[in-house]
């Protein structure tokens, strides 16, 4: 069965459902938490699963989701000033220098936490995945793992709040490896975490 046919049948099934709320429906605040990505992923998935199988909740979710997507703060500012051009050049040069996935370029990069930075979650001793808390208005995260001298061992840019450690880096973590995360915000600014030892 094609995807299009499945979509057609799914919509038909949803349209036939009762439009009234029942006791199992999450509160509007839970739908808003889903939109804001507050709370555990398991809770948000459960809320989303219900919302999408309930005509009333799906409509409410769509209203809150549209507000979030349409909010001025949630959009990248469309600024066509020389500042944007200059910033683009700086970013392009920095990306070229550091290399998004470069493994060993000791480029001089300013590192340090910002006032309201990204909160890292301390990894367990044998962790294979690094995690951090979502920063408000973040549209992407740049995670870097460095050796004791500050050379980048691994780096990635992601919209997720996790980073799978390459096996080579896991081996090196006992030798003083460190990591940090920078969040790029929807207004073009950036907040950073502190540089933190990988193994504690």
């Amino acid at each position: 069965m094609t995807d299009a046919r499945l979509q057609e049948l799914y919509r038909e099934a949803m349209a036939a459902r009762d439009a009234a709320h029942d006791a199992s429906c999450p509160e509007p605040e839970a739908l808003q938490a889903l939109v804001e990505r507050d709370g555990s992923e398991a809770t948000r998935l459960a809320t989303l699963d219900h919302a999408l199988s309930c005509r009333s909740c799906s409509r409410e979710l769509e209203l809150l989701r549209a507000l979030r997507a349409g909010a001025p703060a949630a959009r990248r500012p469309r600024i066509s000033t020389p500042w944007l051009v200059a910033a683009s050049v700086v970013v392009a040069v920095a990306a070229g220098t550091i290399g998004i996935r470069s493994m060993a370029t000791p480029a001089p990069v300013l590192r340090g936490p910002s006032d309201q930075g990204v909160a890292l979650i301390a990894p367990s001793p044998n962790a294979t995945v690094l995690r951090w808390h979502a920063a408000p208005r973040a549209v992407a995260y740049v995670v870097e793992v460095m050796d004791a001298q500050g050379a980048v061992l691994a780096a990635d840019t992601t919209i997720d709040t996790t980073f799978a450690l390459p096996s080579a880096v896991r081996t090196a973590s006992a030798a003083g490896a460190q990591w940090w995360v920078r969040a790029r915000l929807s207004d073009g600014s950036e907040v950073r975490s502190a540089i933190t030892p990988l193994a504690r």
Binding site: A13, Q32, R65
Partner: protein
């Protein structure tokens, strides 16, 4: 583009009605007018001014406007959830779509739709919401943005979830030839 117009553009693609948006923004306007003496003129201008005005607002004004809109929306939703005997004033919502289908072909299609819905209920919970969003018409980027996932993770879970769904349907004797 004005905030309300942007919300309409985003929401109507997925079944949100004009009246839903209008009701919320009417509530927002009332709140902003009430708070006008407390320094929210700029937020009000953002809501009501023409195209391009939104680019000039500060992040503080945007944030205030968004929080006001969310607060208004939550109040509207709570109001709509009141017991039905109080809900006669809920003029913005359409009645439920009639589910009566007399023709035999519609009955077969309806039964197939229910089988698909039941099969979705049996998918692994971590994949099920992604499949539901996709089948409801959301794009992968929208799914990834809502869940805070990478595009690769979203694509992977969607691919596996749809494979699960087709396996379940095949087990029920509904194969690729089912076109009703």
């Amino acid at each position: 583009m004005r905030f309300s117009a942007m919300v309409r553009r985003v929401g109507i693609r997925h079944g949100l009605s004009e009246s839903d948006v209008d009701e919320v923004f009417q509530e927002v306007r009332i709140r902003l007018w009430r708070a006008r003496g407390e320094g929210s003129n700029r937020a009000l201008d953002t809501l009501t001014a023409g195209p391009g005005a939104g680019e000039q607002i500060s992040s503080v004004g945007s944030s205030y406007l968004y929080r006001t809109a969310v607060s208004a929306a939550l109040d509207v939703l709570r109001r709509h959830r009141r017991p039905r005997e109080d809900a006669l004033e809920d003029v913005g919502h359409e009645p439920a779509a009639p589910s009566r289908r007399e023709p035999e072909q519609s009955l077969e299609s309806s039964e197939l739709a229910q089988q698909v819905a039941r099969a979705i209920d049996t998918i692994t919970p971590s994949r099920r919401p992604v499949v539901r969003m996709y089948l409801a018409g959301y794009g992968r980027e929208e799914i990834a943005a809502l869940l805070g996932w990478s595009e690769a993770k979203t694509r992977n879970l969607l691919y596996r979830g749809l494979a699960d769904l087709r396996d379940r349907l095949t087990e029920q004797g509904i194969g690729p030839e089912a076109v009703a």
